[in-house]
């Protein structure tokens, strides 16, 4: 029975998966952007200490960040909302597109080429360089959104997970690019072996 199963071409499987991810990410980014611009309610986190909460039971207090919803956000708040979400989505979509094109090229021809190594290096550098920028930009967006809620308490956190994830993905792409580059150099060597 096992023999009758199709032997998967993992490069092709990855390309299909990336294709789906590119479409979903693109649609998600576009829909989210349009919804925010159209005035969709915006969620904002504010400092709990600044809110006068109704009688809480003894031993219960407000957490540091309390999520609120701005039912009718102003143009500025919509802008801050976009700034706090769009850069991450845009970078993710761009990285997925680059990876999708790269796997397509590697699948059509030889994966161990100078061009594939160069594209992987470019992708890695993009993620390593743009990841922290996106991280700071989104933090500023969150901060401004929280400040603009006029509750008297601003709440925004610098979550280290996001830049770590971007850096890990970037260095991963750089490392794979280096593997491809060395494989290509080895191929050149082997081509001259009789």
């Amino acid at each position: 029975m096992l023999e009758s199963l199709r032997r998967p071409d993992w490069l092709d499987e990855l390309r299909r998966l990336l294709g789906i991810a590119v479409v979903l990410s693109g649609i998600g980014t576009a829909v989210s952007t349009v919804a925010v611009l159209a005035g969709r309610p915006v969620e904002v986190t504010v400092a709990g200490s600044a809110l006068a909460l109704p009688a809480l039971p003894a031993g219960v207090s407000a957490a540091d960040g309390i999520p609120l919803r701005l039912d009718d956000p102003t143009a500025a708040q919509r802008g801050w909302e976009l700034l706090s979400t769009l850069p991450g989505y845009a970078l993710l979509t761009l990285a997925l597109v680059l990876l999708w094109r790269l796997t397509g090229q590697a699948r059509r021809g030889d994966p161990f080429t100078v061009d594939v190594a160069r594209r992987l290096r470019r992708l890695g550098l993009l993620l390593v360089a743009a990841g922290p920028i996106v991280w700071v930009t989104e933090f500023l967006g969150d901060f401004a959104l929280s400040a603009g809620a006029d509750t008297g308490g601003v709440y925004a956190t610098l979550d280290l997970t996001a830049p770590a994830a971007w850096a890990l993905a970037g260095f991963g792409a750089l490392a794979v690019g280096e593997i491809v580059r060395r494989g290509q150099a080895m191929r050149v060597e082997l081509d001259g072996v009789v």
Binding site: E189, G192, V193, V194
Partner: protein, 75 residues
């Protein structure tokens, strides 16, 4: 890996073939490599030779590796 530089190895396949009255095509058949690869070796464009290829060449030409190649001194 050694640095990329031009090698100074000369192959004497032409001379050995002439002495044995053998053609390059016949040698390629006996050794079991393509004529193209044998030409690359003959013309000094190969970057390396497998021991298995060298063994087959020595068998086919009834010679030793030293008869096949000369390393010229650096200028």
């Amino acid at each position: 890996m050694p640095p990329e530089e031009a090698h100074r190895i000369e192959a004497h396949i032409d001379k050995l073939l002439a002495e044995r009255g053998m053609t390059l095509t016949e040698l390629a058949d006996r050794v079991g490599i393509t004529l193209a690869n044998l030409s690359i070796l003959k013309n000094g464009r190969a970057r390396a030779v497998r021991f298995s290829t060298l063994t087959a060449l020595c068998d086919a030409l009834q010679c030793q590796p030293g008869d096949l190649f000369t390393c010229h001194p650096a200028d």
